[in-house]
């Protein structure tokens, strides 16, 4: 008996009980749809985060101050006040072969006020290099120039979201906003980058680095030339490791370090892989939850197949009496279970893709768009998994059917 013959027999018996077959399939449909949709959302989240990290610039290395280690007590990362504007200047001017550009920054929080509106946001002190290194584009006006930095000018370039929150869409160029009671003239507006989560890049206000240290910082930081982070752009992707090495060596020399570095160097790749790890776990978790419903669907198949075997005991007896072998009967019931689960799987994939699309079209948190991705691999995985579920949960009922004694089966009423 051929496979096609088995499938034909299976389809005939399944269509004899349409409602029951449909309900059984529903379990698998829901399971597979959930797997496809949730994995798609997980993938979408991963890509959104990747996009955000990549929008920070290309071939970047981030240098940040290390942890303070005082009498054996280690404070949190970045708490040390070791990285200075001079370090940044040195990195840019020492002729390191793998370093293309250096952009130091200093971050602080401040309240920006314009007319009746105010917003508490991140104030970033930057140099002109920041624009290219960190991949910002000026939408209107101009970026901070070298003159602004040397002169500690009170000028500001504002993020796209600030325009809406402070200016209600009014043209901000040339207006004066007050940050921590210091007046700043708005000279430029940044193009929106999109993205969301912590430290939204569109919520920032950029001012000259020197101005932050001279006028906005409080306490110890006031008047210092400390920086929060130095972004270093490597000449190309292949040079990133060399750049890390060169930057580290120069800083060790400048800081006269013999044992433990007082700074940390991370590449953009490190950030990406950390983020991917997190989203990978998230995707796996979502898939796992959905997988449970697929399992429940599989048990549904087993249940119905067992009922079906009992109900069709007589049919099995007849088939055996006219020459069906154990394997024929086994194949028939296995095929029925598998046809159920594969049909359910295919419908589930379609349903899952539709659900994923609906989730994509719903905006989540501001400008963040979650483009869920239903990949070929998750489709393949779901199909395989559905088939495996059908086979696995079909084997026992099919085995029961196959091992029925033809006499008992024929006598069964």
């Amino acid at each position: 008996m051929t496979i096609i013959e088995s499938i034909r027999i299976a389809l005939v018996s399944l269509s004899a009980n349409k409602l029951r077959s449909a309900l059984t399939m529903l379990g698998i449909i829901i399971g597979v749809a959930a797997v496809i949709a949730l994995m798609g959302v997980g993938r979408g989240a991963q890509q959104a985060i990747d996009r955000q990290i990549n929008s920070m610039g290309t071939n970047l290395i981030f240098v940040s101050p290390g942890a303070v280690n005082q009498g054996g007590v280690r404070s949190s990362q970045g708490s040390a006040q070791t990285l200075t504007y001079d370090d940044a200047v040195a990195l840019a001017t020492s002729g390191l072969s793998a370093v293309a550009a250096v952009a130091p920054e200093v971050r602080t929080f401040g309240q920006a006020v314009y007319m009746g509106n105010n917003v508490n946001t991140q104030i970033v002190g930057v140099t002109p290099e920041y624009e290219t290194v960190r991949n910002y584009r000026v939408q209107a006006g101009e970026f901070i120039n070298a003159g602004n930095v040397t002169a500690r000018s009170t000028v500001a370039v504002i993020g796209a979201n600030i325009v809406t929150t402070l200016f209600n869409g009014e043209d901000p160029i040339g207006q004066t906003i007050r940050i921590n009671n210091v007046g700043f003239k708005v000279i430029g507006v940044l193009e929106a980058k999109g993205g969301g989560g912590f430290g939204n890049q569109d919520d920032q206000i950029l001012v000259p680095l020197t101005t932050v240290n001279a006028r906005l910082q409080r306490g110890n930081f006031r008047g210092s030339n400390l920086v929060s982070q130095i972004s270093v752009q490597a000449t190309d992707a292949g040079q990133i490791n060399l750049a890390i090495q060169q930057v580290s060596e120069l800083l060790r020399e400048r800081h006269k370090i013999r044992f433990e570095d007082d700074f940390t160097v991370r590449s953009q790749q490190d950030l990406l892989s950390t983020a991917n790890q997190i989203t990978g776990v998230l995707t796996l978790f979502l898939g796992g939850v959905a997988g449970i419903s697929l399992l429940v669907g599989g048990i549904g198949i087993m249940n119905i197949m067992l009922v079906s075997v009992t109900e069709r005991t007589r049919e099995i007896g007849i088939r055996k009496a006219i020459g069906a072998t154990r394997n024929n009967i086994l194949a028939q019931f296995l095929t029925e279970a598998t046809v159920l689960s594969i049909c359910g799987g295919l419908i589930g994939i379609a349903a899952g893709a539709v659900i994923a699309r609906i989730i994509s079209s719903a905006p989540i948190g501001g400008t963040l768009v979650l483009n869920s991705v239903v990949g070929m691999d998750s489709i393949l995985l779901a199909t395989l998994f559905a088939t495996a579920v059908g086979l696995f949960f079909g084997i026992y009922p099919a085995y029961r059917a196959a091992s029925l004694n033809p006499i008992d089966a024929l006598r069964y009423e």
Binding site: M1, E5, I9, V12, A16, R314, E315, G317, I318, R319, K320, A321, I322, G323, A324, T325, R326, N327, N328, P406, I407, L410
Partner: protein
């Protein structure tokens, strides 16, 4: 062709043992038409199932065409049931919701035959149902259903037809038609037919009657040879042959 020797079939029911077959020895030659007669519970159906390779004897030897059935694997048994034996049941046992044609095709499916459709149609035409190919069992009368069952038994060209009370569920007219059909098959094609019945009138139409009671054979008699003999076929084909000859059938019942 069928050779049973000292066959026992013992069922265990709780503490007691039921001897459904209690030392049965029986020989049936090719081309015979045998009725197995006995009251209910006499073991005739068990004997039938053993002969049909649906059931295995507890002890004793059963040789089919010289091959010991007890030594056959599940696969071989299925093959024997498929190719050598055709079953006809009292309750027809057709697959419900399946057309007559598909029912008759089924043994050919398991046999892996190629020209299934034509052969199934031919078998249905042989039993006079060429115009009912696409009817489902619930659209057919009892007699017609039984004829579909006979077509299904015939379609693989088996040597033996085993019929278990084939007329038991039919009115007398359809019953007579079915018996006529068996006659034709037997005389025209020399099919070996083994028929279980408790109806003396039916038994009287067979060539040989084996009486069974309490799992033992208590009588084995011949009604005379009705097989087709070349030259007198016309005579044998007349309905007159269906009138039972005055023999002492049913006396033991």
């Amino acid at each position: 062709m069928i050779e049973l020797e000292n066959v026992y079939k013992i069922y265990r029911m709780g503490d007691s043992e039921v001897h459904a077959l209690d030392g049965v020895s029986l020989k049936i030659e090719a081309g015979e038409w045998v009725a197995i007669v006995g009251p209910s519970g006499s073991g005739k159906s068990t004997l039938m199932n053993v002969i049909g390779c649906l059931d295995q004897p507890t002890s004793g030897s059963y040789k089919l065409d010289g091959v010991e059935v007890a030594r056959m694997s599940d696969r071989e048994l299925a093959r024997v049931r498929n190719r050598k034996i055709g079953f006809v049941f009292q309750t027809f046992n057709l697959l419900p919701r399946t057309t007559a044609l598909a029912n008759v095709e089924l043994p050919l499916v398991y046999a892996g035959a190629r020209d299934r459709r034509q052969r199934a149609i031919a078998a249905l035409e042989r039993v006079g149902l060429g115009d009912r190919l696409h009817h489902r069992p619930n659209e057919l009368s009892g007699g017609q259903q039984q004829r579909v069952a006979i077509a299904r038994a015939l379609v693989t060209n088996p040597a033996i037809i085993l019929a278990d009370e084939p007329t038991g569920n039919l009115d007398s007219k359809s019953g007579a038609e079915i018996m006529e059909l068996f006659h034709r098959l037997h005389t025209e094609q020399g099919l070996t037919i083994v028929m279980v019945t408790h109806d003396p009138d039916i038994a009287a139409q067979c060539e040989r009657v084996v009486h069974i009671r309490d799992g033992k054979i208590i009588g084995d008699e011949r009604n005379g040879d009705r097989r087709r003999v070349p030259g007198i076929a016309e005579h044998l084909a007349t309905p007159a042959i269906l009138v039972p000859e005055p023999v002492a059938t049913g006396a033991t019942l």
